[in-house]
């Protein structure tokens, strides 16, 4: 049976998730990449946007207009989460966001913030952009469009968005860090 997390998220809803679990998410999803994170920290969220209990998606979608001039998401896979490592812990603390979704894992500072503030990081399978777009019901809003289509902050309504594999849980366990150790051991044997 699908485990579905629903907006608004609370620490209670996510505290028992373990790394490696597969979940889906229904509710408000906010895209933010490098420039978006920088702006959130430097000048705060745009007016009318709150991430409390919400989910950030590390992604830069392709957006087009349909025949009625209405915007829709064409293709929207995740981007590399690690690029946001230097700022994510501060974003979690500052905004109250509970779910971070992206490609691959994140590192120590983010894992520590997930533990302290009760948040999780999940990985969406990289490149599966049309699968993701099909789970986006609509575009609710867009901010910071002057950063260009990929870097803008898109407010999306999603239904059963996933599969999301928990990569950092609220205990601070880190799936990709564990994998990294395994790959490094194999590398040692290979070049040893």
């Amino acid at each position: 049976m699908k485990k579905i997390l629903t907006f608004p998220l609370t620490t209670e809803q996510i505290k028992d998730l373990k790394i490696g679990d597969t979940v889906y998410y229904t509710g408000l999803l906010f895209t933010a990449r490098d420039s978006g994170h920088k702006r959130i920290i430097e000048s705060g969220l745009p007016d009318g946007v709150s991430l409390t209990g919400g989910a950030i998606y590390h992604a830069g979608p392709i957006v087009a207009k349909d025949e009625n001039g209405k915007e829709y998401v064409v293709s929207a896979g995740p981007t590399t989460s690690k690029r946001m490592e230097t700022l994510e812990a501060d974003v979690i603390e500052k905004t109250g966001v509970k779910l971070i979704i992206g490609k691959g894992g994140m590192e120590q500072r983010t894992a520590a913030a997930c533990k302290t503030f009760g948040a999780v990081h999940c990985a969406f399978p990289g490149g599966c952009a049309v699968v993701a777009a099909q789970q986006i019901e609509k575009i609710i809003d867009s901010k910071w469009l002057n950063l260009g289509m990929p870097e803008a902050l898109w407010v999306l309504k999603v239904k059963e968005f996933g599969p999301l594999v928990v990569s950092i849980d609220t205990k601070g366990n880190n799936l990709f860090e564990n994998n990294r150790k395994l790959f490094d051991e194999r590398l040692e044997r290979l070049i040893g």
Partner: protein, 301 residues
């Protein structure tokens, strides 16, 4: 003023770019499905199943496989008698803009030192175009490569001491993929260039990716080295997407050029599971074929 024929040519190229953004080339498609079929790890199987769903959906809905439609790179072989030779750069640039609007592709090109996006995938010396002249031919052959961001991050080139030899090349490749492979959307297509300096090696590593993943280098020793590195990388078990599984790569191709006795230049380029590349052959009467995507033609028959 552009002639009608030049406009038609730009439409053909724009449509070709669109095709490549929506459909994997035959070689990559085949290899990816084989790897997905043979995977044994349960989480890995789940990821491959999502990848195969994505391929189905993108084809059904006519949308780019991945939202990162990359930076457009063109490798052009043009006959000295090709009637489009004078206009080729302009035609490709127009085609890139048209494909961006009509597919649509994601506008990716930004100011190199700033963050402003040009909005149409051109500007600041892009799209990237390389030329090769074919004497006494009127054909135009264009290879396109959609160079995504995540899978370009592992790319590097360095000059080793010749005595480091094959062992040094392997160490460089294995360490690079172990450190950077996870976020480049594995299973990866790894291109390696071996040449005189950092530039030639890097260039050859990209050329290696333009060759089919299921081909091997004509030189026996180089072909054996491709296989050796492929097996080595697969033993890391990084794919799919860094979750860990039976494989790491779609394949490894090596291209070489004569080097200086005092240098061993090694370049690495990587393509993701959705390596998007294609080749179109256009005749002077504008008839054309897309040999990289033969299965699409067969399916529509």
């Amino acid at each position: 003023m552009l002639s009608e024929k030049i406009i038609m040519l730009s439409d053909i190229i724009a449509e070709f770019i669109k095709t490549v953004s929506i459909n994997l080339s035959d070689d990559i498609d085949r290899r990816l499905r084989d790897i997905a079929d043979s995977e044994s790890n349960p989480t890995a199987k789940k990821m491959y199943s999502c990848i195969l769903d994505d391929l189905e959906l993108s084809r059904k809905l006519n949308r780019p496989i991945c939202q990162d439609t990359g930076v457009l790179q063109f490798f052009v072989e043009i006959g000295t008698d090709c009637p489009f030779i004078k206009d080729i750069e302009r035609v490709i640039t127009i085609a890139a803009e048209k494909a961006t609007e009509k597919t649509p592709l994601r506008p990716n090109i930004v100011d190199p030192l700033g963050e402003m996006n040009t909005g149409n995938n051109t500007g600041y010396n892009t799209p990237y175009i390389e030329y090769k002249i074919i004497p006494d031919s009127s054909d135009l052959i264009i290879k396109v490569y959609l160079s995504g961001g995540g899978c370009a991050l592992p790319g590097r080139s360095r000059v080793l001491m010749p005595l480091e030899g094959k062992k040094g090349i392997k160490k460089f490749v294995y360490e690079t993929i172990a450190e950077w492979g996870v976020n480049a959307c594995p299973p990866l297509f790894v291109g390696i260039g071996i040449g005189a300096c950092a530039v030639t090696a890097a260039n050859l590593s990209k050329k290696a990716l333009l060759r089919p993943v299921d081909s091997e280098n004509d030189d026996k020793e180089t072909a054996d080295f491709e296989k050796e590195i492929e097996d080595g990388l697969n033993s890391l078990g990084i794919a799919p997407l860094g979750f860990g599984g039976d494989k790491t790569v779609l394949g490894v191709n090596i291209e070489t050029a004569g080097r200086h006795p005092a240098t061993l230049g090694v370049g690495i380029s990587t393509g993701c599971w959705a390596t998007r590349k294609g080749e179109i052959v256009i005749k002077d009467d504008l008839s054309f074929e897309i040999p990289s995507h033969k299965r699409l033609k067969e399916e529509t028959k």
